[in-house]
């Protein structure tokens, strides 16, 4: 009887393990851990398809799918085909780690793209670094803890430190303000990092911050904070928020009667922001990494492809799409070889690649380098501020 009970319990544990193991083993893997050389480049994309970051994961998947199709269709890699594997990390660091392990050891990918959130990255990227698998982050914007993990970790997403100071400078030159109020999300790495940069940038421009307010990501009501801010009469309100919160903040600010200028960070750079904020979005200044209005051919092609798929692209889509282009370029630079170190070395040689983000290179510390932009919402569309 006891044996029976234990064997059943063991079965309950072993069965799901077996299920998990037998699937997706795929290609001719060898125990060495290196992917099979040949004409297929396996890309493992760890994205948040469920959980708190699901909307960004979805945007990213759209970008990755489109770019993969485009590159494979264009046949510019001398026969090398990109094979994209997408897994959900459920916005959980535990599952992020499990996905990375799977990509590295079972699927034996040549390069990993993602994960969506910086916090997941700080937990999962070290595994890739140890296993010597290159990682290309497409949305991690935390200033520390990403590329400083090691030389296999790269990113194409500009940090707020690369975007915001230029935006603040340009806004000051255009509007000329001496006082500002700041509102930021303090429970999210993206927006908190943005705030740190905004604070410094404002100080550098000799602007006095008359009020600082915070909110949490799940919040929908900002009237208390905005009323307090309005009471201090700032000449400009600087906001570090993600698109959904950003739309609500701007709409509520206008509703409460604040009619002065508003400057937002990277998070505002999304069609969802304009759509959800409605007429309140008009005139809002945005410091962004992706210049959606750019007429460069790479960007036009990107927008065209996304439109064909019925997708309204945002910054996450653009950075994801560019990520695949960068990987393809790395393959080219590596002599069309598809090994892990080939990709890593290839990244180092990417220079001025034409992407929707503009001409892209990596900095010596493997961070992104391309021209950021300052945009303003005019007539319901983003326009470049000269």
């Amino acid at each position: 009887m006891r044996f029976g009970r234990w064997s059943l319990r063991l079965a309950a544990v072993a069965l799901p393990l077996a299920l998990a193991a037998c699937k997706g083993g795929g290609g001719a893997g060898d125990a060495g851990g290196e992917p099979a050389k040949g004409s297929s480049l396996k890309i493992g994309a760890a994205l948040s398809m469920t959980g708190a970051a699901a909307t960004y994961g979805q945007s990213q998947k759209n970008g990755l799918d489109a770019a993969t199709e485009e590159v494979n269709g264009g046949n510019t890699l001398q026969g090398v085909k990109l094979e994209l594997l997408v897994e959900d990390d459920a916005t959980s660091k535990e599952q992020g780690i499990n996905v990375f392990q799977r990509f590295i050891n079972t699927d034996k990918v040549s390069v990993i793209i993602g994960p969506t959130l910086s916090t997941t990255a700080t937990a999962a990227d070290p595994l890739a670094q140890q296993a010597r698998v290159p990682v290309l982050a497409i949305s991690n914007t935390s200033p520390t803890g990403i590329t400083d993990i090691g030389d296999y970790i790269w990113r194409d997403s500009l940090t707020e430190a690369q975007v915001v100071p230029g935006a603040v400078k340009k806004a000051k030159a255009k509007i000329g303000f001496k006082t500002a109020a700041v509102l930021y999300g303090n429970d999210d790495v993206f927006t908190k990092a943005g705030y740190d940069v905004m604070k410094k940038a404002l100080a550098d421009e000799n602007v006095t911050v008359v009020d600082t307010q915070t909110f949490a990501k799940p919040d929908r009501d900002f009237s208390a904070q905005l009323t307090a801010i309005k009471g201090k009469n700032p000449e400009i309100v600087v906001v570090s928020a993600l698109a959904d919160n950003a739309a609500a903040i701007v709409a509520q600010a206008r509703q409460l009667g604040y009619s002065g200028p508003i400057l937002g960070g990277n998070g505002f750079n999304s069609p969802a922001f304009i759509k959800n904020a409605g007429p309140a979005a008009e005139g809002v200044l945005v410091g962004t990494s992706w210049n959606s209005a750019s007429t460069a051919p790479a960007n036009q092609r990107f927008k065209e492809l996304m439109q064909k798929r019925g997708v309204n692209p945002d910054q996450f889509t653009a950075q994801a799409y560019s990520g695949v282009l960068i990987v393809a370029e790395a393959v080219r630079k590596a002599g069309f070889k598809t090994g892990r170190d080939d990709i890593k070395n290839g990244f180092a040689q990417v220079k001025d690649l034409d992407t929707p983000l503009g001409k892209f290179s990596f900095t010596p510390t493997r961070d992104a380098q391309h021209q950021p932009a300052v945009q303003q919402v005019k007539n319901g569309k983003f326009e470049i501020v000269q």
Binding site: T55, T212, P218, D219, D221, A228
Partner: protein, 292 residues
Amino acid sequence: MWQQAINGVFLGAIYALFAVGYALVFGVLDILNLAHQAVFTLSAFIALAFVAEGNMPLAIALPVSLLAAGLIGVGLERVAFRPLRGRSDSNISGLISSLAAATILEAIALQIWGPDVHRFPQGTFPDKPLHVLGATVSALQLTIIAVSVALMAALTAVLRATRLGRQIRAVAESPRAARILGVDVDRVIAWSFFLSSALGGAAGVLFGVAFNSVSPDMGRSVELKGLAVIILGGMGSIAGAVIAGFALGLLEVLTVVQLGSSWRDAVSFGVLFVVLLVRPSGLLGKAAIREA
């Protein structure tokens, strides 16, 4: 200052409406229904679907969504709560069962509508700002406050003056005694869930309209605030939930003004804590809280 007061009252109205549903189910079944926030969310989506795709005016979509929410609540009770009725650990298992149901409902919303935030189409409601005593209020906000108060008053009327209401109160007091007195306990519980979910659903629709944002995770923050409200108000007390809802809304706004917004949620939970330690029955609750 008035502006902040209005902000507080507006927020409070929605908290109160949401919490009232919690309180009702707890009063009757002694179970914390964590699926309440899922009904809140689904209801907002249903209203959105009717308005955006069915071209229904909001005034009609609201009662229709309420009805739908109530029915979901009844289904929820049947599937997730009734089978657990006899069990000794029913409040723990009920909690987990409601959690499982919430996960399922959220997955459904996610599958149908995706993770993005949706908004109501332009022109769903008139957006006229009014100026009262130096504060800006929109007609929408006043309407929402009015509707919340009306619904809560309606519930109170049902509980006080109708036969169903009396039966609900009897079952809340003692299901066994009620059964002996001939009350159809199963039916009464189903009705309680119907009412509770209808109100939670109304809160969801109003919330979605108020902030023009409907997403599968919109219930999360309200869920925990709702707990603070019912504790403050006293579990099982509808009037308590109402008063506490408004009180919490005002308290949150006050915290932002005086201490800074980073303290806002911490203060809400701090209050929760203090109430539980000092006066666990809350403002108006009568439920037996302590051990012997």
